[in-house]
Symmetry: C2
Subunit: 488 residues, 2 copies
């Protein structure tokens, strides 16, 4: 077994867990944003970029500051006489990236004669309440909460309705994926006068303390690998000990650094642990983007990337440490070097200096406390219990913030949400976040849709010739429900 | 007609309008609280006084301060095995006063085997976030918002459920009157997981800009007087000009001061205007507490006090100014001197130095912007248009705060609340605040109840032998609906 990992490391891993979540939107963003800029789905001029002046603090009068929130509008399909507004509740990243990666909204806008609006979440992209000072300290960053963001969105919609001729009576539907899906669902719960319904794709609204066992997330990841190739999960499970073995000596660390083509050689056991965290994150990211076709959401990847990963991990469990790790290195290259451009791998490439990441890390340390853990038996990872105290200590140290782990449940109702209405909760069976999602319908209008071959919000992506039937069916069902909402 | 009143005065009157509202709960409170202390409905030991430590700011992480919020608990009727919790969402005053003046909850608690909880609104009574500094400036006072108060209540309920054996599965019903009724309704809208339903008595949730014409409030008051005695409203309408006439000279002001037994003689025309505002407030207060039996909500009063007032105002419209005002003076004495104890009348007795008043004035200047106006034709008051700019200027000057007139509508849905459920909106036909209330049912579970002979939340008062059939029927209906909610 691996050496016990200290509390500091634990925090790092748990933070990484948060980062894994973020990766779908935030971390990967900067890399992918670059990609989307160079190879955007949308032609220039497809949407307009606008700004609205709004309050930094909607819920107290101690601070009357305002900031400019960015939003994107595409109204070329819109029927001014009653056409709906499809409103993306932006999550933890640059809104142009979400705009480019939510093809479903673009696909269906002409059919619905809908206006598309993508609203940028405060403290991400260019929507910085205090400009370059926004992340300076908790006094500036402390307004980064989901409630403030939802208030931003509600006020934006009311502003649009009162200023755009024809928009006043347009029904508004919220769309969002991942944390954005949580926001879409919560938006409908808290502001039902503003949105008639919400498509909450891959929204783990029940990933909070006491709602979903912390081990589920990594168990789903492990299952994805177990079913994608013979011995695949077992090989990864065995890899940790192999890394530990080699990581104990200078010579071993040198071998590890070379085997994994690391840009910066491993110097200490802390570096070795960081490498493990990097690998864990990679396996998690792959589970989220295990799409059925070549895609570039977080990184450019082949179709069904986990299958490709696993093809490099066949019959390795009984191999020598070095042989096994050589396979792991090749496998991880599927994620980081599918294009063959990478000269070396950078294990600190979780973008810790990146605003988007910092933002999500702060949210995870304040409101969005989502316990994750592993036991190494029912999953393929090293055992890591959930230790809230250590987590809170790390949050205090990193951000000067004290987490409020029970708050989200109080604020948004936890498992007791049946008095809400008109929300679709879609989840892909392959997506680790589906464990904290709503996967059975709660009422006639709180509808769960499961996409058997789906990873993280596959349904929000644009249609693709290689789409499996399950996502085609899910999208059709979603469109039917949305149609009912907008017809009133 | 009266001389034009400047913007400064206008603000004063509008603030007074807010104060009129407050009077039902806040202003009158300190006088009545004294009364309730000396002549409490409840015996000592009827409830326990408790405190919970909670956050000053639930919606940002810039301020991690906490404060002690007071709440009262009476569990002597409670069935620990599933009995419900009736939760009073405290409004702008000392919670012990509401506890003593909400007899309906006490009357029905034994029948429902219910626990009673009365939660004190932050910044009132003893629930001061910053102790004696709470009202110091907008930096301290700015956390006085309805959203923060509702979050306090939600967290309190969750705390009670997780710490009181048997409470976990107890259904919670919110009760409230006036602003407390608005809070009860909003509580159910925003936290449906926390409360199964709400009785919102005399809750003018639609008294906000663009929702109810500003003149309705004073028109209802005028109607109450018009139907309570021949020429009653006309006499009051005529009194303003009489006061203006006399108020123009030193001799006239001396006469006015003597006629009205004022503690402090009128020196200037500004004083005369203040006296008019004081009278307006008095007529408004009387309309709110026009109860069918002797009662002491704001002041000790006879049964149907407006009828008694009007009995002093018969056939005076064609009288001399002095004769007319002499009648007015006697009439106003019904309100301020029913017990015969008052030696003189104090026109500044709107308690401007009083925390409860200050609190509501701040709320009216920040979130709770409720336009009121008069035209002197369809009502019995001097014409006063609604002038938001002047109002905002006054708020800035008094509190350093900028009103957010559209916010409540955005936050709580305005007229578009049909996706909410399980709310009773009860309104008395005599109550001026009924104009901004929900007086027709919006759905099967958003039920309006009208009490024809009811003033301000008569239904929340304890039963009385002189109760008219309309309130007996209303309470019976309310109990039936609440029974359904708690049975689930």
């Amino acid at each position: 077994m691996a050496l016990p990992i200290g509390k500091k490391m634990l925090l790092a891993v748990l933070t990484l867990c948060a980062l894994v979540f973020d990766s779908a939107n935030g971390i990967g963003f900067h890399r992918s944003n670059l990609y989307s800029r160079t190879k955007s789905i949308l032609s220039p001029g497809t949407y307009r970029t606008l700004y609205i002046k709004t309050k930094v603090d909607h819920f107290s009068f101690t601070n009357d500051d305002t900031y400019m929130m960015r939003y994107l509008v595409a109204d070329q399909f819109w029927d001014q006489k009653g056409g709906p507004i499809f409103f993306y509740t932006g999550n933890e990243g640059d809104i142009t990236w979400f705009c480019n990666n939510t093809g479903f909204m673009w696909d269906i806008a002409p059919k619905f004669k809908a206006m598309l609006v993508f609203a940028e979440h405060r403290y991400y992209g260019t929507s910085m309440p205090y400009g370059a000072e926004s992340y300076k300290d908790v006094q500036h960053l402390g307004y980064l909460t989901s409630e403030q963001a939802l208030a931003d969105y509600a006020l934006l919609i009311n502003h649009m309705k009162s200023t755009i001729p024809g928009a006043e009576n347009s029904p508004v539907v919220a769309f969002g994926g991942s944390y954005g899906g949580m926001l879409a669902a919560w938006f409908r719960m808290k502001y039902p006068s503003v949105v008639v319904g919400a498509l909450a794709a891959s929204a783990p609204i029940w990933q909070f303390p006491g709602e979903t066992p912390c081990e589920v997330f990594y168990q789903i990841i492990s299952k994805d690998y177990a079913m994608s190739g013979p011995g695949c999960a077992d090989t990864i499970r065995a890899s940790w000990k192999a890394i530990t073995n080699l990581g104990q000596t200078d010579a071993g660390r040198k071998t590890l650094s070379e085997t994994f083509h690391l840009c910066k050689p491993l110097k200490t056991t802390a570096d070795v642990n960081a490498m493990k965290a990097w690998l864990s994150e990679t396996w998690g990211n792959l589970a989220m983007v295990d799409y059925p076709y070549q895609a570039s959401f977080l990184e450019p990847l082949p179709a069904w990337p986990i299958k490709v990963v696993c093809s490099h991990l066949v019959n390795l469990t009984k191999s020598s440490d070095l042989h096994l790790l050589s396979g792991i290195s090749t496998a991880v290259g599927v994620y980081y070097n599918y294009t063959g451009q990478a000269k070396c791998f950078n294990i600190s490439q979780q973008g810790t200096a990146d605003l988007g990441d910092q933002g999500w890390n702060f949210q995870a340390c304040s409101e969005m406390v989502m316990p994750l853990c592993t036991d190494g038996v029912h999953d393929m990872f090293e055992p890591q219990p959930w230790d809230f105290n250590a987590f809170a200590k790390g949050c205090k140290k990193q951000f000067g913030v004290v987490p409020r782990p029970q708050w989200i449940k109080t604020q948004y109702g936890g498992k007791n949400i049946t008095s809400a209405s008109n929300i679709i909760f879609s989840n892909g069976r392959l997506d680790p976040w589906s464990g904290g999602g709503v996967t059975t319908s709660l009422s006639d209008s709180l509808i769960a849709i499961i996409i058997e071959e789906g990873a993280h919000h596959l349904d929000l992506r644009g249609s693709n010739p290689q789409d499996p039937q399950s996502v085609i069916k899910a999208r059709r069902q979603e469109m039917g429900i949305i149609k009912k909402w907008v017809q009133g």
